[in-house]
């Protein structure tokens, strides 16, 4: 047995990794991304004349566990018909046993790269609100994403936001229909006792997600995470998009602190509540995350109504000047 030269080794590895699409209708393009379970390739669909993104698992799956998980992800996406969620077109298995699915090819840039080009805080906060929209939609459909992070959010050329990689999303309704105790994505106001439920394909005790964006209960491997785990990740994204300068503002810092609270019960109940507070902040209205002191309320009122206030002050000054002149 002779050793393979470096160049031959690289070519061989590439040949082994490249998906064999000969039994599909797609023509393979370049590799565009890699994830924990598989890689994503650009491909052409000559029948429909469009480009698609093919997600292919790394390994064959005779036991069916991974196929089930991939098909589950495709099902999750299929139930989330929203402009901010990438639609799935097709699902299948390669001749070597690796499962795959075809989805819309997203062209754009990562959330953090897109945000870096926005110079003002309101622009970045409005971008954040667009991230909240598909997440809120998913929560309303009983789906928790569980892996929100900048690399899973793409911003298209027209500013459209797409949330990707629902591979470890949790389908709460499906769990309920399977007889598992499935809490709603948006939790009740009263805190609940934790329950040991497990998402399909993810046992309780298994940690899936990304450190830094993962809610503490998710990092502990609690099977029973709900929409508030996504609220935590959104809070981290908000902190990153706002930047340290903007977080000197107490009201904005309080929104981030509430979204990323250690205990789920202390967080916003869901993405809509978090987004609503950010909208209030942008509009100069009181936010639920922060109880203002009277002088802070007055200062915020002054800033919000500064034009009207200036006009009133100018009017009063003019009246005072006229009064003084008249008395002389």
């Amino acid at each position: 047995m002779t050793a393979l030269p470096d160049a031959a080794l690289s070519r061989l590895v590439r040949a082994l990794r490249t998906p064999d699409l000969s039994e599909t209708r797609y023509l393979l393009g370049r590799e565009v991304g890699r994830g924990g379970m598989g890689s994503v390739w650009e491909a052409d669909d000559p029948e429909l004349g469009r480009s698609v993104a093919l997600k292919v698992l790394d390994l064959p799956d005779s036991a069916g566990d991974l196929s089930a998980r991939l098909r589950r992800e495709a099902r999750v996406l299929a139930r989330l018909e929203h402009p901010g969620v990438v639609p799935v077109h097709d699902v299948g298995t390669l001749p070597d046993g690796r499962p795959w699915y075809a989805m819309k090819l997203v062209r754009g840039e990562r959330l953090d790269a897109a945000a870096a080009r926005l110079s003002t805080l309101p622009e970045r906060l409005r971008l954040f609100l667009r991230v909240c929209e598909p997440v809120a939609f998913a929560h309303a459909r009983g789906v928790v994403h569980r892996d929100l992070k900048p690399s899973n959010v793409m911003v298209g050329p027209f500013g459209e936001v797409l949330v990707l990689d629902w591979g470890i999303a949790r389908l709460l309704e499906e769990e309920a229909s399977e007889g598992r105790p499935g809490p709603p994505a948006a939790p009740p106001t009263e805190p609940r006792e934790p329950r040991a439920a497990a998402a399909p394909g993810t046992a309780a005790g298994t940690v899936l997600g990304t450190p830094g964006y993962m809610a503490p209960e998710q990092a502990r491997g609690d099977g029973d995470v709900d929409g508030r785990a996504d609220v935590f990740a959104l809070g981290v994204l908000l902190r990153e998009l706002a930047g340290p300068e903007a977080l000197r503002a107490r009201r904005l810092a309080a929104i981030v602190a509430k979204a990323t609270a250690e205990r789920p019960a202390e967080r916003y109940g869901g993405a809509p509540a978090l987004a609503a507070d950010v909208v209030r902040y942008l509009d100069g209205e009181p936010v639920t995350a922060y109880r203002e002191r009277p002088w802070e309320r007055a200062a915020r009122f002054a800033v919000r109504h500064r034009v009207a206030l200036l006009l009133v002050l100018a009017y009063l000054a003019a009246r005072a000047a006229i009064l003084v002149l008249y008395r002389r």
Binding site: A3, L9, L12, A15, L16, D58, A63, P95
Partner: protein, 241 residues
């Protein structure tokens, strides 16, 4: 983790080396040696700065010790990958100069394995070491090289067995030759007197079969499903930096 990626074929070398069946033990040792002797030799040369003779001796000692001291019996797949465990065993052996001095005794007089150390020496001296490559990463790269070379050795007979001998010839020309000299599919079709679609089908089959052999081989060289998954990602370049 339950289930598997493909139907079980040969048992893991960890289990096979403990088997009561001498043929099975011998086959497991053969696979283990084929996959590891070059990485071990290069690791001892590069990390421990040993000369050719001493590195070749230590490599022989390593496999002799692996058997005589039943080192694999202590391997726990729940704690580390087999590859990491074996590298640490090599480090322990190389670090202990006193043991090195008594290696004949320790090896229990086991017959030395027939390994092409001269060839390995030439390959090592020809290859320029990567400037910032850690010994661990270099060991992994050499191991990947050995696993793929071993899989390639098994590929022709696997394809012959399926009556697709031409597929290996096509694969050899397209994937193993110099990249600049790779013939077009039309040229290959003309050379072998088959259609272009026969060429593409043959190449697909060879790649698929090689992938299957690699995964089969990794099943032999790992102790658990999770380790298999991790090592497959390493060999297929998925976790490469």
């Amino acid at each position: 983790m339950t289930g598997g990626f493909f139907p079980p074929t040969r048992a893991s070398v960890v289990d096979a080396l403990r088997s009561g069946d001498a043929a099975e033990r011998e086959r497991a040792l053969e696979t283990l040696v084929a996959a590891y002797w070059r990485p071990v030799y290069r690791h001892v040369r590069r990390k421990w700065g040993k000369g050719h003779e001493e590195a070749a001796d230590l490599t022989q000692d390593f496999f002799a010790e692996l058997l005589s001291r039943h080192l694999l019996a202590r391997f726990d797949p729940g704690k580390a990958r087999l590859r990491t465990y074996l590298r640490l065993c090599v480090d322990g052996l190389a670090a202990n100069a006193a043991k090195a001095a008594s290696r004949q005794k320790r090896g229990g007089g086991a017959a030395p394995l027939s390994l092409d150390f001269e060839g390995a020496r030439e390959e090592l001296e020809r290859a320029a070491p990567a400037a910032d490559e850690t010994p661990e990463r270099a060991f992994e790269r050499e191991w990947v090289r050995s696993v793929l070379a071993l899989a390639l050795e098994r590929l022709p007979s696997a394809l012959e067995g399926r009556g697709k001998g031409i597929a290996f010839a096509l694969f050899e020309l397209c994937e193993l030759g110099a990249e600049a000299e790779v013939p077009s599919y039309a040229e290959l079709a003309a050379r072998f007197g088959v259609s272009v679609s026969d060429v593409t089908n043959g190449l697909s089959l060879a790649r698929r079969e090689l992938r299957r052999i690699v995964l089969d081989l990794l099943r032999e060289l790992t102790g658990s499903e999770e380790e298999l998954r991790l090592e497959a990602r390493a060999v297929l370049g998925i976790d490469a930096p």
